[in-house]
Amino acid sequence: MTRESQTIAVIGGGPAGLEASAKLTGLGYNVFILEKNTEVGGHLLDWDRLFPDQQNASEVLDAIKAGLNENTQILTGAEVVEISENHRFDIKLAGSPQKITADAILVATGFDVFDARKKEEYGYGIYDHVITSAELETYFKNKKEILKRNGSPVKRIAFIHCVGSRDEKAGVRHCSRVCCVTAVKQAIEVKELYPDVEVYLFYMDLRMFGLGYEELYKEAQEIYNIRFIRGRLSESFENQDGTIMVKVEDTLAGKPMRINVDLMVLMVGILASSGTSEMGSKMGIGINSNGFLKPVNSHFSSQISNRAGVFLAGTCKSPKNIEETLSDARAAAVLIDNYLKAKIT
């Protein structure tokens, strides 16, 4: 058998799935990308610019897609209903007589953002002026003006960190990692568009782990006059005029604090997507206590699942930024190649 005679099914056509497919087809394998949405690209499709360098998400997506060659077949609207194994994997798709036969599977089913309605005290879906970070991104992307419901300008915005992250009350223990720097990035973008808007970020810790992130934070303070207040929102309520009263402890001043804002942006956390949980249970892949898929060893074989021939890439395993996701996908491609090469001989 040659590489050309072998097929890999990649479940999920987000950045991880696409990048791994590009590397695998580059090596000569045949790849089926099974994407349940109508278009590949995952969350990158909804993102405008990326931290920390403000590169366009669409440019990144185009660059990833440019790596795909004619050995790739993209099936959109493809929902996996059943996977059976008989030397090779047989994958049945919903509403389609076509059965995909593959020698290896890569699960790249990604993340969903936290449903902010679950934190009722933040008023999402209840108050008029509460949006999520994902929604704010679509404002940027679609050049939609940030205004109050009655069309008047927004004068003060609060970004609320850790919404559905680090919160056992919401059933989420982990840190979603990318929302701190996303808040800083989005706050700067707001100030670029509306220099007179006052912007406050309410955080517990600022986790600026990547190269260039701390610098972005300093830029936010120094150039854009964005203010960081350390304290977790305990409660909020809507005033008669539609503004929102936010209550936190200003932990650095050591006193309770209340402040009125025109708009709240909730930095929603990253959770294993519903597709990720589904694939995990369908295929008998280990799931860790945070709901993400569990590789056999998170240090030295973090792309290998407990099931032979099934590999894992991207945010189905943990929150990641784009750079980490793409590196992880490439690593998965190499390990799949090693696995299949052993079969070839």
Binding site: E222, R227, R230, R258, N260
Partner: protein, 107 residues
């Protein structure tokens, strides 16, 4: 009126919108490096004055931003301008000049 001896406590809450936050604005215009303070407390831990009194430059910065002006005017007079805080600040905030500017504003 009969005095039952009850008193009411002063509200400790920072009511941001009602506080007068003008001192910070002047300070910010005269010493812009105040904006890049990350509230790490390196300055206040090295400060000799802080070892013997309640004085903390870190807290002064945060309180002035919020418009919480109690004790600020007294506190800033305790600084000896030794400059140790400036040597240790990781963000190179011009700490001594913050106190100097505050003294000028509040005089």
């Amino acid at each position: 009126m009969i005095n039952f001896g009850y008193t009411s406590n002063k509200d400790r809450q920072i009511v941001f919108d009602e506080n007068d936050r003008s001192v910070y604005q002047i300070l910010q215009s005269k010493e812009p490096s105040v904006d890049i303070c990350i509230q790490c407390g390196t300055c206040s831990s090295t400060c000799t004055t802080g070892q013997f009194t309640q004085f903390s430059l870190r807290q002064i910065i945060v309180n002035i931003h919020r418009g919480e002006m109690d004790f600020i005017n007294e506190d800033i007079r305790k600084c000896m301008f030794c400059g140790k805080c400036q040597l240790v600040c990781p963000r190179s905030v011009n700490t001594r000049n913050i106190i100097q500017v505050l003294i000028t504003i509040l005089n």
